[in-house]
Amino acid sequence: MIAGDIDLAVLEPTEFLPQVEAGEIDVLLSTGNKPALHEALADVPLASDLGAEEPFVTQVRLFFGAPDLSEAQEQYWVDVLTQWSESDGYAAYIEENALTPQLITGDELDTYISESVETLAGE
């Protein structure tokens, strides 16, 4: 793309931030549902700002367990992950990797995934 062979690329921040800082590329559009925290990305327009109506299915990062975990096993990991998401280490991880913080668990998580599957399977 930098060589001009293609006009656009769809990339995640860790794949392009050094080139933004070097002035080699422009960031045109975010497919996120809220503005990024990273200063190089905070002012990038969201697709919804330009009239896109449906939220996009974006790359989420998640943890999953083996099939048929007991309620106690599931709760253990959900508690651990929730506690981690509230830590300074987590905040540093999010910032260093230009991610958007999220914590979705329980029924809300199943709903999120099944709706994403429905959206993508319909295309």
């Binding site: 392009f16 367990g65 083996a66």
Partner: protein
């Protein structure tokens, strides 16, 4: 893997026995229903070292060790193998997989990988790695400018092939704005 399978049977047996004996519970699940890992924990990363899943797995494993005092070992696998590994271990709480939209949602829709997200105990989404449309510096004045150019046809978008998250995102952007991109398939990152 065989070894781990045997351990599962033993643990399950212990729970069943405890159930018969009243409210004593097993070594891993106490009477009040709380559970603790029995020994080390494995963080299974379905990706090679260095990418987003690997970084997450390692960050979490280090933090978890500090929080819990339990040893957490990160293992890297091929994408599909890293997911299927957990499918073979029903009820085993001492392994936690690192997943993402590509391996848990997109790829199982596009092809039969031997699993879907519903096979597993989904625990938590912990971050969103938003995709951005980027261009060579100065190629477009703005996103609106790019959309107008795409309406006229001929805007090319680099893609790393079917099943990758960026292909799905490019399709969604095209649909949302009623435009078409000309895909150009690349190996690896389209930079």
């Amino acid at each position: 893997m065989r070894k781990r399978g045997i351990a599962v049977v033993l643990v399950t047996g212990a729970v069943a026995l405890a159930g018969c004996g009243g409210e004593e519970g097993s070594s891993t699940e106490s009477a009040n229903g709380e559970w603790q890992p029995d020994g080390d924990v494995e963080v299974a990363v379905g990706a090679q070292p260095g990418g987003g899943s690997d970084i997450l797995g390692r960050e979490f494993a280090a933090a978890y060790e500090e929080m819990s005092g339990v040893t957490a070992v990160v293992e890297n696998y091929d994408t599909v193998a890293g997911v299927l590994l957990l499918k073979e271990e029903p009820g085993l709480g001492e392994i936690i997989g690192v997943g993402n939209t590509s391996n848990m949602i997109v790829r199982p829709i596009e092809q039969d990988l031997g699993y879907t997200w519903e096979d597993f105990t989904q625990l938590a989404i912990v971050a969103e790695d938003v995709s951005y449309l980027v261009s060579q510096a100065g190629a477009f004045e703005s996103a609106e400018d790019m959309i107008e150019a795409a309406k006229a046809g001929g805007v090319t978008v680099g893609q790393v092939g079917s099943g990758a998250g960026d292909t799905v995102v490019a399709d969604q952007v095209a649909d949302a704005f009623g435009i078409t991109f000309q895909p150009v398939v690349y190996e690896g990152v389209a930079m």
